[in-house]
């Protein structure tokens, strides 16, 4: 409590101080804000502009305002809708796997057992593996139809080995991404479990609450917040999955694993269609924003709660 008083006194003093010295708040902030403006906001605005332009690098003379032309082509392109579908499949499947598995593992690693620290450290390691490495590792040494260790295991057990990336491409991509991101869910949910409000738990215990009530009224709401953060953050990352696909299936076979980022990459770098790929990029931004909207609201809410504390 006395801390608050000190902090308040500090606040007033800093205001007076501000008037005396005039701390260069704006000058301190400007570099970071300007940098983000130049590297994120300006390009975003340019993407919007290109989306309404006829612009193909192969046909430099055919520039000009396209109106909604690019969007019309986009919305009638089956590959775009397929890519949108793949993106959502990938996000939903990876979310379901990583969050449920992450939760189970977090509950497991929240218990004490011999060598828990080392086991946890090993279990979270996949998160630090570069996505390109993950891709090649799974495609070759693990899931190769003849020489992969999984094929060997299947032969040993009397099954016919499967060419995973050819016959179950989406499943394989989901498997790789889930392997990388389950540790992330595990790590954050575990931190959440370990920061349960002890005082509240003790209070309800003193009030004679049962374990079930304790779990329902304290653990679930507290963990609910953490789950929310995990789901939102992972969605943002899963929406932009690229390197795992680049290193393994290159979007194929056919377009079976072409997600939105890969679709945009192909249209820009192989079809040179700046207008169309910008229109697709706008779709990707809108999709990301649907998810981000909720997360940002949460972060902002958290900020105010932090201020009151």
């Amino acid at each position: 409590m006395s801390n608050d008083a000190v902090a308040n006194a500090g606040d007033t003093a800093s205001h007076q101080g501000a008037k005396r010295h005039g701390p260069p708040v704006k000058r301190l902030m400007a570099p970071a804000v300007l940098f983000l403006m130049v590297w994120m906001i300006v390009p975003l605005a340019m993407t919007v502009y290109y989306a309404f332009e006829n612009y193909n690098l192969m046909m430099p003379t055919m520039r000009g305002f396209a109106g909604l032309g690019n969007f019309e082509i986009l919305l009638t392109d089956g590959t775009f809708w397929a890519a949108l579908g793949h993106t959502l499949t990938l996000v939903m499947a990876c979310l379901a796997i990583t969050v449920s598995l992450g939760l189970v593992l977090a509950l497991l690693f929240n218990k004490t057992f011999l060598g828990r620290g080392v086991a946890r450290t090993l279990a979270i390691s996949p998160f630090f593996v570069m996505p390109v490495v993950t891709g090649l590792l799974f495609k070759n040494m693990l899931l190769h139809p003849v020489y992969g260790i999984v094929s060997w295991a299947m032969r040993t057990l009397g099954f016919e080995p499967i060419d995973w990336f050819a016959h179950y491409p989406m499943f394989s991509v989901i498997l790789m991404i889930s392997w990388e991101w389950t540790p992330f869910a595990l790590l954050i949910l575990l931190t959440g479990l370990q920061s349960l409000p002890e005082d509240q738990i003790e209070a309800v215990r003193l009030d004679g609450a049962s374990r079930l009530q304790e779990f329902r009224h304290i653990v679930i709401p507290h963990l609910g917040q953490v789950l929310y953060v995990v789901v939102m953050l992972e969605s943002i990352f899963f929406l932009t999955s690229f390197a795992e696909i680049y290193a393994t299936t290159s979007g194929g076979p056919g377009t079976a694993t072409t997600n939105l980022p890969y679709y945009i990459y192909q249209n820009a770098f192989f079809q040179y269609d700046i207008g169309l790929s910008s229109a697709a990029a706008i779709a990707a931004v809108i999709l990301a924003n649907i998810f981000a909207f909720f997360l940002i609201r949460f972060v902002a809410g958290n900020l105010n709660a932090g201020g009151q504390r």
Binding site: P31, L137, L142, Q225, T240, A281
Partner: protein, 272 residues
């Protein structure tokens, strides 16, 4: 009973750990084999380890070192520049909060949610005009942009842990804002700044989207080096594994030390 259940837990816990870690372990083992034994229908679990593959991966023309240098240079420089931009901004917001502080912080997070493909095309075209394609500095700037929101948030949350009266005391003693920042606050927040830098370094080193689209040779990073094995089809599995081990090992080890900071940084301080 207690004893038994905790033994059961240990078994399950270690089983999980081994299953999750197995692909990495298998990569390390493959890296220690000869090319023939790496590419075999019956995997060899017992073999005489050799460093041959590491040697080939290191010695080849424009081999590992070229890419490793680019990875190291871009991730270290982007981390340093990121800190140089993030520290003053976070300092201003933590110690001189105004009505706009919350808005600025949230705005910074929101830029993190612009997917990279959303800005890929203009950046590619502008970079092409400016000659920044396949250029270390072009990549560095992108890594800074990618990490800056996270870094500002992290540094901000560490500054918030420093009692405000310390700044007061320094100012009453007549220290300027910059002197206070450099001599008083930064030393106090040093552990926090170090973890911020560590997280930024890990994220930049592992970054693959910009590395694969904006650089193909001169500035190509390890992500591109590994991706160049894409079509190897069994010919160079041991070499590919050796290169991969040298690419991920330093980061996995750093990551082990940065677990807690990862959580704080990647959740924008929402989970500590």
């Amino acid at each position: 009973m207690e004893q038994k259940s905790s033994l059961g837990l240990a078994v399950i816990g270690w089983l999980v750990a081994i299953v999750m870690f197995f692909p990495i372990l298998w990569m390390v083992l493959t890296a220690l084999k000869t090319e023939q034994s790496a590419f075999s229908m019956v995997p060899e679990f017992v073999f005489t380890p050799t460093l041959e593959s590491f040697k080939t991966a290191l010695s080849q023309n424009a081999g590992y070192w070229h890419y490793a240098f680019n990875s190291l240079f871009t991730s270290v420089m982007s981390t340093l520049i990121g800190l140089a931009l993030a520290i003053p901004a976070a300092y201003a917001m933590a110690f001189y909060p105004s009505k706009r502080t919350d808005f600025t912080l949230v705005w910074m997070v929101s830029t993190k949610f612009i997917p990279a493909v959303g800005v890929l095309i203009p950046i590619f075209l502008v970079y092409k005009t400016l000659g920044l394609i396949d250029n270390n500095w072009g990549l560095i700037a992108l890594f800074v942009g990618m990490n800056l929101p996270i870094m500002v948030w992290m540094v901000y949350s560490y500054f918030k842990d420093v009692p405000k009266d310390i700044v007061e005391a320094a100012e009453i003693d007549g220290a300027s804002t910059l002197a206070t920042m450099f001599r008083v606050i930064l030393p106090l927040a040093l552990p926090g700044l170090a973890s911020t830098g560590l997280l930024a370094l890990i994220l930049a080193w592992n970054e693959s989207f910009w590395s694969l689209t904006m650089a193909d040779h001169d500035a190509a990073t390890l992500a591109a080096f590994i991706a160049s094995f894409k079509s190897a089809e069994g010919l160079f599995w041991a070499k590919m594994s050796a290169a991969s081990v040298m690419t991920v090992a330093p980061i996995i080890v750093l990551g082990w030390f940065a677990q807690k900071q990862m959580v704080r940084g990647l959740t924008f301080g929402a989970v500590k």
